[in-house]
Structures are given as structure tokens and as C-alpha cells.
Amino acid sequence: MSVRRVLGLAELDRGRPALPVGELSSDARLLAQDLIDTMRASPACVGLAAPQIGVPLRAFVLDVSGHRKARTVHGELVLFDPELLEAQETEVAREGCMSVPDLTGDVARATRIVLRGRDVAGAEKVIRTDAFEARAVLHELDHLDGLVFLDRLAGPGALHARRVYR
């Protein structure tokens, strides 16, 4: 259990998909705990994927509780080997990334999604969500495929400077 350093844009392994976690080991559970601890350590952080802390595995955590744009909220969500099953309707909205903290971008994302994955106990979960939680999930799934929000901008006008809280 520890707060890990979040990799910056220049350090991320871009364009290479992360590997399946497969059968859950104690290492996988420790990874989940590190992701949660790292996410909780930054007040503005509501989601984090394993590749962002330098672990090339398909796992992410998120918690959008209390977010003003959230509708459906699952609380603290830990998913291994997540898989997107359905994605409907799109909306353009601004999002930021722990690995690119100086910038935000306007990105089109599905507003209603269904995904499947396994929780820390290894149980399969099917999750239906929408609005900001859907955006957060899709952002994390991108990380698992070696993508960041910058890969999805409509143009230079969709990129904005972000105040960095140091």
C-alpha cells in the first residue's frame, strides 16, 4: 500500500496496449490498493489507470462521488480486465489527466455505457453507467490502450491550459 508516482506524458508507454491481468494474484490486489492510494493522494484526482503508475496491466480505479456532472455513481470502483460492451450517444466536454496536468481538452465521449470487468474479489461485474462516470471510465480505458485524451481532440481549439495546483 503506497502512493506511487504518476508518470508524465513523456514517460507513458504510448500506443501499446496494456496486458490482461488474468487470474487475480496478491500482486494484483496490491496494485489496486496502490492505485486507490495514489488517486486519493491528489484531491482533484477521480480516476487512475495502472499504466499511469508504470504498470502495463489492464486495471483502473475511479470514484466520481460528489462530482457535479455525475448522475449514476458506483462509488469506489476497481476493475481488472475491463471490457466495453456498449456505448451510446456522445457529448463533448472538458476533461483533464493526471499524466498531463498542465492541460485540459474538449473530448467527445459516449454518455451511456455498459462494461464488464472483475472486482478485487475476482467476481465478474457488469456496470451500466452514464454522464461523468461514463466519461471517466472511457478515459481510463483509453489509458489501457496506450491513449490519452490528447489523441481524441477535435483540433487545437479543443486544448486548454490548466492551472496546476502544486
Binding site: 477521480v46 475511479l62 493526471m98 487545437p156 492551472r163
Partner: protein, 178 residues
């Protein structure tokens, strides 16, 4: 580190970015942040560059002189003065204003932002629609003064927007991180 800001303006044509950045690369200048756009057929670019081997802005202007002459560009280079405004600590807001076009919309809304202690850090405006009934769209990003709230700015701008007969929406600018 010797950092400079560069502004270049001229009638748009193919090859301007290549010519300007080529001249900068030839003297070892490293481009940092930049923004380029075309408004009314006019090319405009602002960029920040790091030129460790350049002692004086005039040397950069000399290197750019052939491109400037060939492409009829107005180019200005200045030593970069750091500004701390964006890191002042207040919230960020995105203000969207739209309605029928008439003089004074930008100045009034920007005046309200300034009066609230806010700093406009990004601004884009467009005239849209048919010439006989033009609409106006303005989007600006504002760094609020520390302690100032989105709600108070929103109320102030709503009042001004009502008087200008335009629509105004204020949204949080900095989202959560993922």
C-alpha cells in the same frame, strides 16, 4: 536559458509556418508553447521559444528577416517576461456569451471580469449567421481572483448580459483529473 516571445502577422499563404520555424531552427531555437490562427484571411502566430545561443532579440529578428521580407510578415520578438497570473490560485471559469451582434459586448463583459478581479487567459469571438442579421459568439477562459467564486462572477455577468440582451453561461474551467 534565453527565452523570447515571437509574434508574426501577415496575409495568409501556404508556407508561413515552415518559413518562420525553419529560420528559428537554423539558429538552434527550441519552440515551446504556440498558438496560430487565421482571422479574416490574416495569419497570426504567437510562440514562446528558448534560444540558448541567442543573446539578444534583434539577432532572432535578423534570422527571420528573409522570411519576413519574402512573405511580407510583421514580426516582433521580445525577451520573455514571466507572468504568475495563471498560478495565482483562484478557480478557472469558462464564460460563453452569444446573441445578436452589436458593438460593446466584449468590452462590457471583459470589463465585468476585470472589475471582479478576474484575468482573461483565453478568448475567441466569431460573427456568425447571415450578414443582415449577424449573431455573435464569445468564449473566454477566466482565472478568478483567489477567494472569488464562480457564482459571484456568474451573477455579475448575468446582469450585464441581460442589459446587453445576450445569453451568458459560466461553467467551471478546471475539471477533475483522470
Amino acid at each position: 536559458m534565453a527565452r523570447f516571445s515571437l509574434h508574426a502577422v501577415g496575409v495568409d499563404r501556404p508556407g508561413i509556418v515552415a518559413a518562420v520555424t525553419g529560420a528559428l531552427a537554423s539558429i538552434g531555437a527550441n519552440l515551446e508553447d504556440s498558438r496560430m490562427t487565421i482571422l479574416g484571411g490574416q495569419f497570426s502566430i504567437m510562440l514562446v521559444l528558448d534560444a540558448p545561443s541567442v543573446a539578444d532579440a534583434s539577432l532572432l529578428e535578423e534570422a527571420l528577416a528573409p522570411a519576413s521580407t519574402e512573405l511580407d510578415l510583421l514580426i516582433a520578438v521580445r525577451p520573455l517576461v514571466e507572468s504568475a497570473h495563471l498560478d495565482a490560485g483562484g478557480e478557472m471559469a469558462v464564460v460563453s456569451v452569444h446573441g445578436a451582434d452589436h458593438p460593446g459586448i466584449v468590452s462590457r463583459m471583459a470589463g465585468e471580469v476585470a472589475a471582479a478581479g478576474g484575468n482573461v487567459v483565453d478568448l475567441a469571438t466569431r460573427v456568425v449567421g447571415e450578414p443582415e442579421m449577424p449573431g455573435y459568439v464569445m468564449v473566454l477562459t477566466v482565472a478568478l481572483a483567489p477567494g472569488s467564486t464562480l457564482e459571484s462572477l456568474s451573477e455579475r455577468l448575468a446582469q450585464a448580459a441581460a442589459e446587453l440582451q445576450v445569453h451568458c453561461a459560466v461553467a467551471p474551467g478546471d475539471g477533475e483529473l483522470l
